[in-house]
């Protein structure tokens, strides 16, 4: 197994938010002690509800935000501080695809200029080389030269997302973080964009972190999946294993909510109770108020993420940590 391109080690990020005019600031732990690794050419899907900290984790993985504690290492070196010179030059090696492509584009510039902007920023190539790179990038993402001359508002949502991908890939990055890249698109367009990402990744050997709340999309694109709940990873493994045989009760509820074409409708696990609120974390296992299997131990003690099998981890008191136990469940 090759060395990881990106590794997060026990990273924590806490925000403070204030309620009302005279309210006391409340600490909100968006990400709490998460460790992850991404190897070159691998796609890691991160699944979770809103408020689970998956976007914050994506931002820390890219170095856009520094963790409060823990460390992020990119290609063996520590992630430089945001805004520093070395951080800037690292931007060409790690790029981001956003949820809202219209918001991420400058509406006053033709999109071709914006696609070429990373080259200008990092001083790569001369004018002719840049124009050629822009043309290649447009073609690679399935856009025509005519699309390049248009303004962002003259393109459709899917085309805009292609523009964002073209811009992100023009510097030939090694890591791409996609933060909900398709959740604002129509289902038919979603498939096109996801397929484009899969093709590009296969072609270029990109490492990718794919953040989404949509399990079907994540299943399609990722080799490995990490499920997050209230800032913690509750389960991690290959996409195949996690989705076929979920161990954590939360993952089971997620998987049962996503229909599989061709399979018989299984027993659905319907989650009850409040959606998670990071400002008011339950004691013990954060999932216990909604967990159908919760015991007294879950209310009192926080489960740790334990290794079940090579590359397979879960955080739940109810899982017997033996391969036999897994099978029995």
């Amino acid at each position: 197994m090759s060395a990881p391109l990106l590794s997060l080690n026990e990273v924590t990020r806490t925000y403070t938010s204030r309620k009302g005019l005279f309210g006391t600031p409340v600490a909100v732990q968006a990400v709490a002690g998460v460790s992850l690794e991404v190897r070159p050419g691998e796609t890691l899907g991160i699944v979770g509800e809103s408020g689970s900290g998956k976007s914050t984790m994506g931002r820390m993985a890219l170095g856009l935000e520094a963790p409060d504690s823990g460390s992020v290492r990119f290609d063996g070196a520590a992630m430089p501080d945001p805004g520093s010179e070395s951080w800037r030059s690292l931007r060409k090696r790690a790029q981001m695809v956003f949820q809202d492509p219209l918001g991420a584009l400058d509406r006053r510039l033709p999109v071709a200029d914006q696609i070429g902007e990373p080259l200008e920023i990092h001083g790569i190539g001369d004018k002719a080389a840049r124009a050629a790179a822009i043309a290649r990038s447009l073609e690679m993402t399935g856009l025509s030269a005519d699309h390049g001359r248009r303004f962002p508002h003259e393109l459709s949502g899917g085309q805009r997302q292609r523009v964002i991908i073209a811009r992100a890939l023009i510097t030939d990055p090694e890591l791409l973080v996609c933060d909900e890249p398709v959740s604002a698109l129509d289902v038919s367009i979603q498939a096109q964009v996801v397929n484009l990402l899969i093709d590009l990744q296969a072609e270029r050997g990109l490492a990718m972190i794919f953040i989404s709340h949509d399990l079907r999309v994540v299943r399609q694109i990722s080799q490995r999946v990490a499920v997050m709940y209230l800032g913690h990873i509750v389960e991690e493994g290959t996409a195949e294993e996690v989705l076929r045989d979920p161990q954590h009760p939360y993952t089971r509820a997620l998987v049962s909510a996503a229909p599989v074409p061709g399979a018989r409708q299984r027993q659905r696990v319907i989650l009850t109770g409040e959606p998670p609120n990071p400002a008011a974390r339950p004691s013990g296992c954060a999932f216990h108020p909604r967990c159908p299997l919760a015991t007294d131990r879950c209310r009192a003690e926080m489960p740790v993420l334990t290794r079940l099998a090579p590359g397979r981890r879960a955080a739940c008191h109810l899982i017997q940590h033996t391969p036999a136990g897994m099978a029995a469940k």
């Binding site: 856009l64 030059s89 060409k92 991420a104 400058d106 902007e117 990373p118 920023i121």
Partner: protein
């Protein structure tokens, strides 16, 4: 019925760039005329603007070929004085508007970029400027430091900067929240590039409209100061200065005061109309 259905047809007319509304054409013409007058004032003046002609005092307009717009109480040619006045007033107004726009926008961007203490200082300064009657500030500065054209331009340059600062700060913060500025800085761009290449063009339309609002006010302010005798000093002349000294003759020789007044009104009106039109033109989404 057909009228109601018509807009639903995806009619995308070719972008007609040069069909201007008539009032914009008229405004452009007037502002162009004023600029030409200001630049070529020396060539256009029929007489020296200080030349006395005591035989022809208070000649009404259109009475004499030598003095088409009449003469004032000392027999000076009103047309020549008007031409020089336009040059001086436009110089002050353009200079001051530019200074305040650059100063205000820079401070606004600094506030938006650094936030924290820098932002607080800029905002307190802006509040202070807004709370202080500018005329009183101008009067005290001119009273203490005497009077010269550069000082006057610099002083006027302080007028209205707080508006640009507030606009620039608010829009820059909004732009960062919107994403395109964040997206570009995530590509590794330095703050200078983010602000000058992306945020400034995006908010320029608002700033330009704000400039066209401040510009007439500066002309009027200069006129007011000159009227009070604190602006441009004789023998130099400006539009406000002419109005101020012409008021004594308003009943006997109204043209001395009315000609510069008409120029002030038309110029400020033309610039306001242009600004309004520019705001719409500068937005690519409603082209």
């Amino acid at each position: 019925m057909t009228d109601m259905l018509a807009p639903s047809v995806p009619a995308k007319p070719a972008r007609r760039r040069w069909s201007l509304p008539w009032y914009v054409t008229a405004s452009l013409f007037w502002v162009g005329l004023m600029l030409i007058t200001a630049v070529f004032a020396d060539l256009l003046m029929p007489h020296s603007f200080t030349a006395l002609d005591l035989k022809y005092r208070l000649v009404a307009p259109f009475q004499s070929l030598a003095h088409p717009l009449g003469t004032d109480e000392l027999g000076r040619d009103v047309l020549s004085r008007l031409i020089v006045s336009i040059r001086i007033s436009l110089l002050i107004a353009f200079g001051a508007t530019l200074i305040s726009a650059v100063l205000g926008t820079t401070l606004g961007f600094l506030a938006a970029h650094f936030r924290g203490i820098v932002e607080q200082i800029v905002l307190v300064l802006a509040d202070f400027q807004a709370a202080m009657p500018f005329l009183i500030l101008a009067l005290s500065v001119l009273a203490f430091f005497g009077n010269s054209l550069p000082l006057l331009v610099g002083l006027m340059g302080l007028y209205g900067w707080e508006r640009y600062a507030r606009i620039a700060r608010g829009l820059a913060i909004a732009a960062s929240a919107q994403g395109y500025a964040t997206a570009v800085s995530q590509l590794g761009a330095k703050p200078g590039r983010v602000y000058l290449r992306h945020i400034l063009p995006n908010i320029a339309s608002t700033l330009i409209v704000s400039m066209t609002l401040v510009f007439p006010e500066v002309i009027l302010l200069e006129s007011g100061l000159s009227f009070l005798g604190l602006g441009v000093q004789p023998p130099m002349t400006s539009l406000g200065n002419m109005v101020g000294y012409g008021r004594e003759y308003i009943t006997r020789a109204p043209w001395i005061m009315l000609t510069p007044s008409v120029v002030i009104v038309l110029t400020t009106l033309a610039i306001s109309l242009l600004g309004d039109w520019l705001r719409d033109r500068l937005d690519p989404t409603i082209r």
